[in-house]
């Protein structure tokens, strides 16, 4: 069963977000990295780029396919995890830690509340795999 940490919020596109004050840290879930297989390339936006909720902010390439990354909430990118350029494998080994992808200034707190809790995301995964 995929690892789903409690303190994060989740989107149905399998991204997680950790909100601290106005800043949200975004990455993909353990379930997502598992489904993708070995990640070989991560394409991320530039600092200052703005995204709507559910808008594609980048892409992740695995040995199977290229998949888009969707921003769980709207906001402006304030930091990008450059280390994934050289070590995309971190997405497989530490999706909730070292492989965070972007930090954004969260546009609206309401959008965060409408995301899934860890318990809801686990139920969602269960329903999806059945």
């Amino acid at each position: 069963m995929a690892n789903v940490p409690e303190k994060l919020n989740y989107s149905k596109d399998h991204e997680w977000i950790k909100v601290e004050g106005e800043t949200g840290t975004v990455g993909i879930t353990d379930h997502a990295q598992h489904a993708l297989g070995d990640v070989v390339y991560v394409e991320l936006p530039k600092v200052g780029d703005k995204f709507e909720a559910h808008e594609a902010f980048g892409s992740v390439e695995s040995v199977k396919a290229v998949s888009e990354l969707f921003s769980p909430v709207s906001g402006e990118v304030i930091e990008v995890n450059e280390s994934l350029q050289d070590e995309p494998e971190k997405v497989n080994t530490d999706p909730y830690g070292e492989a965070w992808m972007i930090r954004i200034r969260v546009g609206s707190a309401g959008e965060v509340d409408s995301l899934l809790t860890s318990a809801e995301y686990e139920d969602y995964l269960k329903a999806e795999t059945e």
Binding site: A35, G37, D38, E61, V63, K64, A65, S67, P88, E89
Partner: protein, 514 residues
């Protein structure tokens, strides 16, 4: 005292070094006669700045026999349609007939200069014209351009026609905005569709598929209601191998929204001689001669992706067009450059002409009935596999497939065996693997397209192999997980190869590694 049997060193035919590694100093494949003129110093002939001073270091020094054996050995490693079934879904890897190759090598076709005046190229122009007529008949779309060099090129040409017609109809200049700019693409589409649309300046919106695997009409209507619809890019049968049976209604919805329908003809092998896109309401389609019409696919082909369109789109087709001139009982063919509304050239000369020769040969040798029978056999073969494997593999869609069938690894993945492992194991059974992990909307997809080129015996062998693998996945998963076992090289580390690619061989690295 140790007793041991001396182990034979592997013979060179069991593996083959790079030709650089075969090099031996001083070995050559020629011997020159003594010079019978005065030797001219090199610096008198070539100025110094144009000369390299590294003595061509590192080039292999080999004899003619070395070269011939090296490449002959390597050539035997290839898997091809001449060797066995090649069930790559969506690729239509059918037999490429010897006759096609023979006619493409006829001197007048093979050695005709592309700039020869029309009067000296009548045979070639007639061939292009006849092929256009046949493709128009097969698709039900009268305007044909043979210029596009491959599928995605044909796609792009097709939607450039749509752009040109919309702008002309709506009275919008190229620099103006807003223009109708939304291209709808189903989530099951080939990746080239959104790529072509993006490259042509359209904004892509994705249409969801239903649980049945077909285009969701409600979702389509909702997207059309958002406005700005330039068109829809639809593959039919779609990439799940399912016929979009609502195609007329789909075309109606798009036309009512003021857009045009582009059909990706990658899967025409399920329709030729049976159903025509033009009759379904499609405005423009590309064909893959290297799929449906049996010209070589892969290995540099080259490809050919003709574009067929309605009368309304015809004025915008690439220039020049090949046209027939009938004057007083005389038929001549010429290139028509006077096409003021044309989107322009999309390829030098006349596209990949050799492929046009092969495709016409395919059409004429089959004839009307033969083309229909090929289609029927392609669909029957896919359905035979669908039926043969449904008890062993998860089949995500109930409806009978057309020319290709999709299965998943759902049952096998419970034992940790995934699609990639099944594909690798299939190599041990002597088959080229099927297409894997596509379409993207099916998790662990295996897309199998046998084509009409295989008979029942080979289909049964394939089904047997797949059934064996399903059993191994249950009883002995390690065998599947470590496959292939019978190849010269075993399972490759594809992730490492993509993350840290070694792009060229370097002598110095070999030395330091040794």
């Amino acid at each position: 005292m140790k007793s041991h049997t001396p182990k034979a060193a592997p013979h060179v035919t069991q593996n083959e070094a790079l030709i650089f590694e075969r090099s031996q100093p001083g070995r050559t494949g020629y011997s020159l006669p003594p010079l019978d003129v005065d030797e001219t110093p090199l610096d008198e002939l070539v100025p110094e700045e144009f000369r390299r001073d590294d003595e061509l270091e590192g080039l292999p020094e080999v004899s003619e026999t070395d070269v011939v054996r090296h490449f002959t050995r390597i050539s035997t490693w290839n898997y091809s349609v001449d060797l066995g079934m090649y069930p790559l879904g969506s690729c239509t890897m059918k037999y490429n007939s010897r006759l096609n190759e023979k006619v493409a090598r006829i001197n007048g076709f093979a050695n005709l200069h592309p700039l020869a005046p029309d009067a000296e190229a009548q045979g070639a122009l007639q061939l292009l014209h006849e092929l256009q007529e046949h493709l128009a008949e097969i698709t039900g779309l009268p305007g044909v351009s043979l210029q596009p060099a491959a599928g995605a090129h044909g796609e792009m040409t097709g939607i450039m026609l749509i752009r040109a017609l919309l702008d002309s109809r709506d009275g919008v200049a190229e620099s103006n905005s807003p223009r109708r700019n939304v291209m709808l693409i189903p989530d099951s589409a080939h990746g080239t569709n959104p790529a072509s649309a993006n490259l042509s300046g359209f904004k892509v919106k994705t249409v969801k598929s239903t649980a049945e695997g077909l285009t969701d009409l409600e979702a389509l209507r909702a997207l059309c209601a958002e406005g700005d619809i330039a068109g829809l890019m639809l593959t039919n049968p779609n990439t799940l191998g399912l016929f979009e049976r609502n195609i007329k209604e789909i075309c109606g919805i798009i036309h009512d929204a003021g857009g045009l329908v582009y059909m990706d003809g990658a899967n025409m092998n399920a329709l030729v001689g049976v159903a025509r896109p033009g009759d379904m309401g499609v405005d423009v389609i590309h064909l893959n001669l290297h799929k449906t019409f049996s010209t070589p696919h892969g290995g540099g082909g080259p490809g050919s992706g003709p574009c067929c369109c309605t009368k309304e789109l015809e004025p915008f087709l690439p220039t020049p067009r090949v046209v027939k001139d009938v004057r007083g009982g005389d038929e001549t063919y010429k290139l028509d450059f006077n096409r003021p509304q044309s989107i322009g050239r999309v390829k030098a000369f006349h596209g990949n002409f050799g492929m046009a020769v092969r495709a016409l040969s395919y059409i004429l040798t089959h004839g009307r009935d033969g083309l229909r029978e090929a289609t029927e056999a392609a669909v029957l073969n896919a359905r035979y596999i669908a039926q043969g494997l449904k008890d062993d593999y998860d089949k995500p869609f109930d409806s009978p497939p057309m020319h290709e069938v999709v299965f998943t690894d759902k049952r096998q993945s419970r034992k940790g065996v995934h699609t990639l492992d099944i594909a690798k194991r299939l190599i041990d059974y002597g088959f080229h693997p099927m297409t894997i992990y596509f379409p993207l909307i099916v998790q662990g997809a295996m897309l199998i397209e046998p084509t009409e080129s295989v008979g029942r015996g080979e289909l049964d062998q394939f089904i047997y192999a797949m059934k064996q693998i399903a059993r191994e996945a249950l009883e002995d998963p390690e065998t599947v997980l470590n496959a292939p076992h019978t190849t010269r090289i075993g399972r490759l580390d594809e992730a490492a190869a993509a993350r840290k690619p070694v792009l060229r061989w370097k002598a110095e690295e070999q030395v330091s590694a040794a």
